[in-house]
């Protein structure tokens, strides 16, 4: 069990986790300021007989300060976040050389279609495997997400990637895995009574292992 974020398994993970840490620090400062202030006031200004509270209706200077500081911080945070957002999810963010994989979600499974030896989807050498996502390490992958029935959500925690699969829509999501290993893909959007078991294995493999698996899986799928 971790008390922090899980393994960083994609090129996004460092950026997302860095932003997470930055927000933790900013909000942590605000949190400590407010909670310590509250406790301090609660102790210091507790009722004592014969004392009267200080009569004031406020201070314009204080209002300006505590409006301006959060405003500047939030706008800065927005700009920084947007920089990453555009790189990760922006309309033109998918690298042109990304390796395509199609994932068709349906109650309650992931149908993963691989492009086969020619590296292109929609050709006769494509093959489909249920609930297994194999990807080569160190290479941008673009997942073409579709859904058969209801909204599902493609979520691989170690990649920090999430994208809804919506019926009637064709949505691209991309990522680049960095650490070989076996991970899990889950459905993050309530999709019916089998939502909790709509999971798949994710295998991040070296290019050679991936190619070998592809060859074998294509044969199995065609036989």
């Amino acid at each position: 069990m971790h008390w922090w974020l899980p393994l960083k398994g994609s090129t996004f993970a460092g950026e997302v986790d860095g932003l997470f840490l930055a927000i933790t620090i900013i909000t942590g400062i605000a949190f400590v300021l407010v909670e310590v202030g509250l406790i301090w006031f609660v102790v210091k200004y507790r009722q004592r007989p014969g004392r009267k509270a200080f009569y004031t209706h406020g201070s314009t200077r204080a209002e300006v300060i505590w409006t301006a500081i959060p405003a500047v911080t939030m706008v800065a945070l927005g700009l920084i976040s947007n920089h990453y957002w555009v790189r990760i999810k922006g309309r033109n963010s998918v690298p042109p050389n990304a390796y395509p994989i199609a994932i068709h979600a349906k109650q309650f499974e992931w149908q993963v279609t691989y492009p086969g030896p020619d590296g292109k989807l929609g050709t006769s050498d494509d093959f489909t495997v249920r609930n297994q996502l194999h990807v080569p390490v160190g290479r941008p992958i673009v997942v073409r997400l579709t859904s058969e029935d209801v909204i599902h959500s493609f979520f691989v925690p170690v990649f920090r990637v999430k994208q809804d699969a919506v019926p009637g829509m064709d949505i691209n999501a991309w990522f680049q895995a960095t650490v070989p290993g076996t991970y899990e893909l889950g459905c993050a959007e309530l999709c019916g009574l089998g939502h909790y078991r709509m999971r798949a294995q994710v295998f991040v493999q070296s290019q050679e292992d991936y190619d070998a698996w592809t060859k074998q899986a294509a044969q199995e799928a065609s036989s």
Partner: protein, 588 residues
């Protein structure tokens, strides 16, 4: 409207010759309607809590028979073991009951009704009969929703957000009648809120007592006023969406079904266009009432009254342009995501202003830790956590990871429980005397506060950690995932804390009932407050005032150097006060 005949009797309840039915059932008295809302929505709060306990049992102890679960039918929990289809009904109905039938009516139904006429100095609401209908359509909605738990296919099971097409097509959800009853109930609850909002807005604009200018209104009234505007504009969207959903379900339209040319995302846009203002409907009244209680408990004027008002208005305004932050991962154009992110982050500013002003109010005060004050300070402490955790999910790249995880569950409960419900635990004992003439028990109130505060944090704080591990929401059995198995002890810990939290609420309910008959008589003004309601007998009589009071100042003149006491009621005329011009406030 309800004019009170002036008589020679000093007793307040003298002229009340209404029948029992007119007085307590089909009542048009705003206070009785408020109390009706209170009893009914406290009941639904218990129902929502019971549903949550069953969820927590399944999450903490997946697949084990639930103690007492044997009473549930085979279709829900055979042998006491919760079924996946029942679990998602629990998820759906817990959210639905808590949002629409507990927190929203407790804040708005109870306190807008009860407080507005009392605090602005008028005899009743502008439209008392519409007010009565508002309660009864809420009541009908609640009955329909409750009944839906017992229909053959079970209750709705698409989450309280009812995402289409899962909610729209019975072949996909597996529920039929329950889904339709959800839609019908939501249409009724929308009607109730629209009728109520109309009334609150009209009453506050037209029926203020002489001298009660806009900037002499208590912040509770300001927040209820702005909330009513949000309600009036947002609820019709929900009702419209629910009508479309119902049509999809029963007459074969396909608004939300892409298989037949509809749009799945249309539901989300409509739902969240209502849903985000709704979030502020669920917190603004809490903020307003907490402001009143903190000023009273600190014996100090509210710090930055005007900033507080503008912050309420700003939050309400921004609340209309942030709905897309629920949809960052929905497949919506990512450029829209950028703009929704910025508007969402900006909401942190008025929220911070409010927090700092509450602290400013306590600064150099003379703090009295009554039960309402303890809960109000806890509100600030907990709302801050909920507000700050919201910044994580507002930042779109981080949301990509934590969206639809327990981080969101933690966040929303810090706002709705830590925020709204703590505010209610402050407001209920605070205005209880004016409702029932007696005080709730102080000692038990403190016991309830401390235990709730501790167990509440033990339940919801660890959920942040679960979310950071990637623990998805609404999953029936987390142990299905290898990466979540190490977190099972934490799920168990949360569940046990949740049972203790629920058990603690029994103290509150017993205190509430016990004090109705046995509580200490409160007198007119037990909290030594300045508001108009405290000049009335407790409980306040039908029609409130024989003659509406005249207001000379704002509601927060505590520890004023003008008087020796540490409070100065709004109605007390000092030699330096001028009589308000007859035209300055609306007449009756």
């Amino acid at each position: 409207m309800t004019t009170v005949a002036a008589t020679a009797h000093p007793a307040p309840a003298h002229h009340d010759d209404r029948s029992f039915i007119r007085k307590y059932v089909f009542s048009t008295d705003h206070k009785i309607i408020g109390i009706q809302f209170l009893f009914v929505s406290l009941f639904f709060l218990l129902v929502g809590g019971l549903l949550a306990m069953q969820m927590r049992w399944q999450l903490g102890f997946p697949g084990k028979p639930m103690p007492g679960g044997g009473v549930l039918p085979e279709t829900m929990a055979p042998g006491g073991v919760i079924l996946p289809e029942y679990y998602i009904q629990l998820v759906t109905m817990h959210g639905t009951f808590m949002v629409f039938f507990a927190i929203m009516p407790l804040l708005v139904g109870v306190y807008a009704n009860f407080l507005i006429p009392l605090k602005i100095g008028t005899h009743d609401m502008a439209f008392p009969r519409i007010n009565m209908w508002s309660f009864w359509s809420f009541f009908a909605a609640g009955l329909v929703m409750l009944a839906s738990l017992f229909v053959p296919d079970g209750a709705a099971r698409a989450g309280w957000t009812m995402y289409a097409p899962l909610s729209a097509r019975h072949d996909l959800s597996g529920a039929s009648f329950g889904q339709e009853m959800w839609s019908v109930s939501i249409i009724l609850v929308g009607l109730s809120s629209i009728l109520g909002s109309l009334n609150y807005i009209t009453t506050i604009i037209n029926n203020r007592a002489p001298g009660m200018t806009w900037f002499r209104l208590p912040l509770s009234v300001w927040s209820l006023f702005i909330t009513a505007i949000l309600g009036l504009l947002a609820l019709p969207v929900l009702s419209g969406a629910a009508i479309m959903l119902l049509f999809d379900q029963i007459i074969g339209t396909h608004f939300f079904d892409p298989a037949a040319g509809g749009q799945a995302l249309l539901w989300q846009h409509l739902f969240w266009f209502f849903g985000h203002p709704e979030v502020y409907i669920l917190i603004l009244p809490a903020m307003g009432m907490v402001s009143d209680i903190i000023a009273n408990g600190s014996r100090k004027p509210i710090f930055g009254y005007h900033s507080m008002v503008f912050a309420i208005v700003a939050i309400a305004f921004l609340g209309w342009i942030v709905w897309g932050h629920h949809m960052f991962m929905s497949g919506m154009n990512p450029t829209l995501g950028s703009s929704f992110m910025v508007s969402t982050l900006v909401i942190a500013v008025p929220s911070a202003v409010k927090t700092f002003n509450w602290m400013g109010t306590m600064w150099r005060g003379n703090l009295r830790f009554t039960v309402p004050m303890l809960n109000a300070v806890a509100f600030v402490a907990m709302f801050v956590i909920g507000g700050l955790s919201g910044i994580f999910m507002a930042a779109t790249p981080v949301d990509m990871f934590i969206h639809d995880t327990y981080f969101i569950v933690a966040h929303l409960h810090y706002v709705l429980f830590g925020g709204s419900l703590f505010a209610l635990f402050a407001a209920i004992p605070y205005w209880y005397p004016k409702m029932f003439g007696r005080l709730m028990h102080e000692g038990w109130g403190k016991v309830h506060f401390w235990l709730t505060f501790i167990f509440y944090n033990l339940v919801f704080f660890p959920m942040h950690i679960l979310g950071m591990a990637g623990h998805m929401r609404r999953i029936y059995d987390p142990t299905q995932y290898a990466f979540l198995q190490p977190y099972q002890p934490m799920n168990e810990f949360i569940s046990i804390s949740a049972f203790l939290l629920f058990a603690t609420q029994i103290i509150f309910f017993v205190n509430f009932w016990w004090s109705l008959k046995r509580g200490k008589p409160s007198g007119l003004n037990p909290w030594q407050d300045n508001g108009l309601e405290w000049t009335l007998p407790s409980p306040a009589p039908h029609g409130n005032w024989e003659r509406v009071p005249t207001v000379y100042r704002g509601p927060y003149e505590f520890s004023s150097p003008q008087v020796p006491e540490d409070y100065l009621p709004q109605t007390r005329r000092l030699p330096s006060d001028r009589e308000p011009a007859a035209a300055s406030a609306a007449r009756h």
